[in-house]
Symmetry: C2
Subunit: 401 residues, 2 copies
């Protein structure tokens, strides 16, 4: 019998830094510990009642496929939502996807072939690496620095990384895991590079409304002359606290890119039906909804920052958006530390689960002292989770400095 | 400004033969025609009430992510279901996916790299081509013939197509679009080839319970000595009339293939939450449920076959499983014919939408006289849809023979 062998991309596929320690968290819970799950962007906010009503009040008799590109009602609702944000995307330029995850897969596949390269500011959303890896596309990281608040480096740094195989840049704004909200001049620089080098810009704006301290979000789609080289990624997961609905969208005015994404979407038949029904009315929520949402998260962020500032050796810039903070900890290895917190540590029966930083870097060895903290619970809970984290840092055998 | 260019795989991605004519169907409906939608496997059967109750009676407050590999309750329910079928797969060898579609993407990516080849009996499920194309994997068709009831050709035919890049065979049993139920000797031949050439077998068994005329389904997983080279694809879409739930599964006892699929699953976070909640109890449905299901479809099939047999020049073997029939029509080009039926034809205000056969072939130019008919409606409706199809064939300007 001749043995079988998995593919190279299968054998080398990276585990998610957000998910890989979950088995340890499950064991910790089974042993009776309370685990503060700050590893993942799963908010505690209830999914708005109107969204539930959309399915509960009048469920369909047959849970049928939707069109591949999503229900027309939802695409129209999203187009109206974009219009209010000065984003010119028609309903027929939107493809509803199974979360932003699938939107990213379609976007990358439509603009890059195996062996092609994509520029991404680093630290980066870990799953960009996973999707690119599955599609045979190489992630080329663009370094940013905590002391610059993870803002983008100058144009020269980008241009050094451009090769004949470079096809696009992916920019997450506000940034996951950094919480950075990019300034207009940064967006203009990226678009300028894209113009001069024939690149697409994949704009991941799922945290668009999560901006604090008077920061205003500007979209890559707000620039008229480069609209047709932008591919917009979106999701209802965070905005409407509906992560499990798995509804996102990939949108573009570039006809060829749209057609490619459309064909990919046909192959997988349709996005989830119930999640789409829930999303239609949600896109009509008014400014008050978003103001309340941002208000809730700013309190959580402030609680986290206040507690972190009390811990010796911990460095963390104040994030201006999204609901994540990258913190540098006085530890030898944040992978080991995060695992130790789950397996070996507890404080008054509690522990805190953070995502190790290494997985948010494409550069080997980088991020070994950083962790990502998702501030997805109420301020009091976050404060307590930070207190437990601080106790863990004091007790951790691999503490340095 | 330097122009952007989409990827080669994007520019050459095939449109789905099942979905590509939908815009014409929409127009036909808008013009007042009744369109019998036999293009797609979307049954009219209501989704069982216990599945609805699972979400409607006690909806969660927060629609949260599930684990990447799916809820443990659902994985355990599937393992129990498999056990009854003499399929030895543990709950921890099952990954819940967003439909069989995603299961196929994970399976192919885990066993094939860009440029690798996969053998698939032809005509084939069109989306195998779409997924493979997106992943840079080449589909190598294994020809089958209508006069053999699309049963598999002998081993020599397969071995002629094997190259150093061949990594796997995908076999859909019962077959979509053919309705063929493979005999044990056919399964054993495929497994024998896989053993001798170091290939995986991707077993797509989503129509497992749809077997008629006393046919009994045998699974590729029923053979003990080759279990670890089989990757099993499944779905709740057809079995429980819940296509829009988008819940499937990829399962394997091969540890490395499982790990690869698991990492891919982590990158996209989780499958839809509500669909999973609906599926748990459904996997405990008893034999009576499945007997009733198969009984409903056999009536539909018989109605289709009876009507087709009345049409001069139409050839169609009696399908023994699934709910599709491939029929050879006396037309110049089934793409043109299917489009013409929607755009130019009606009989008493009705028309019939069939999927053109070409898209179910990887061989260029093949299938030009075939169409796939999904018998997903009640026998009376199917009979009427066939009558309308027959009238269309009489009137079609490109009729031949």
């Amino acid at each position: 019998m001749k043995p079988v062998k998995v593919s190279t991309r299968g054998a080398t596929s990276p585990a998610s830094p957000i998910r890989k320690l979950v088995p340890l968290a499950v064991k910790a819970k089974e042993s009776g510990k309370t685990v503060h799950m700050l590893n993942i962007g799963q908010p505690d906010l209830t999914t708005p009642q109107p969204m539930w009503d959309a399915v509960l009040k009048n469920p369909p008799a047959v849970l049928a496929y939707s069109p591949s590109e999503g229900f027309p009602e939802l695409r129209r609702a999203m187009a109206r939502y974009y219009e209010k944000l000065d984003i010119r995307i028609g309903a027929d330029q939107i493809i509803i996807t199974t979360g932003a995850s699938e939107a990213l897969v379609f976007a990358v596949a439509s603009i890059a072939d195996p062996g092609d390269e994509i520029l991404i500011p680093e630290p980066l959303y870990a799953n960009y690496i996973g999707f690119s890896h599955m599609l045979g596309v190489k992630v080329v990281p663009i370094p940013t620095r905590p002391e610059d608040g993870y803002h983008l480096p100058p144009r020269e740094v980008w241009e050094e990384k451009i090769s004949p195989r470079t096809r696009a840049a992916i920019v997450c704004n506000p940034g996951n895991p950094t919480g950075t909200v990019y300034r207009p001049d940064e967006l203009e620089m990226v678009l300028g590079i894209a113009k001069d080098h024939g690149l697409f810009v994949v704009a991941d704006e799922v945290y668009r409304e999560f901006c604090f301290d008077g920061e205003r979000h500007r979209s890559f789609m707000n620039y008229r002359d480069t609209e047709d080289r932008v591919i917009l990624i979106d999701s209802i997961s965070k905005r409407f606290s509906a992560c499990g609905a798995r509804i996102g969208a990939v949108s573009t005015t570039n006809r060829e890119a749209y057609e490619a994404c459309h064909h990919f979407s046909q192959a997988r038949l349709s996005p989830p039906t119930l999640g789409q029904l829930m999303a239609v009315d949600a896109f009509a929520f008014d400014d008050d909804y978003y103001a309340e949402l941002a208000g809730a998260y700013v309190k959580r962020r402030d609680a986290v920052m206040e507690e972190l500032s009390k811990m010796p050796g911990v460095l963390c810039e104040v994030p201006k958006g999204a609901f994540y903070a990258m913190a540098k900890l006085p530890v030898d290895d944040s992978d080991t530390f995060a695992a130790w917190m789950l397996s070996d540590f507890s404080h008054e029966g509690e522990t805190t689960f953070v995502a190790p930083g290494g997985g948010f870097y494409a550069t080997p060895g980088a991020g070994k002292q950083e962790v990502r903290i998702a501030y997805v619970f109420e301020a009091d809970v976050m404060r307590r989770a930070m207190e437990v984290l601080g106790k863990g840092l004091e007790a951790y055998p691999g503490r340095i400095g």
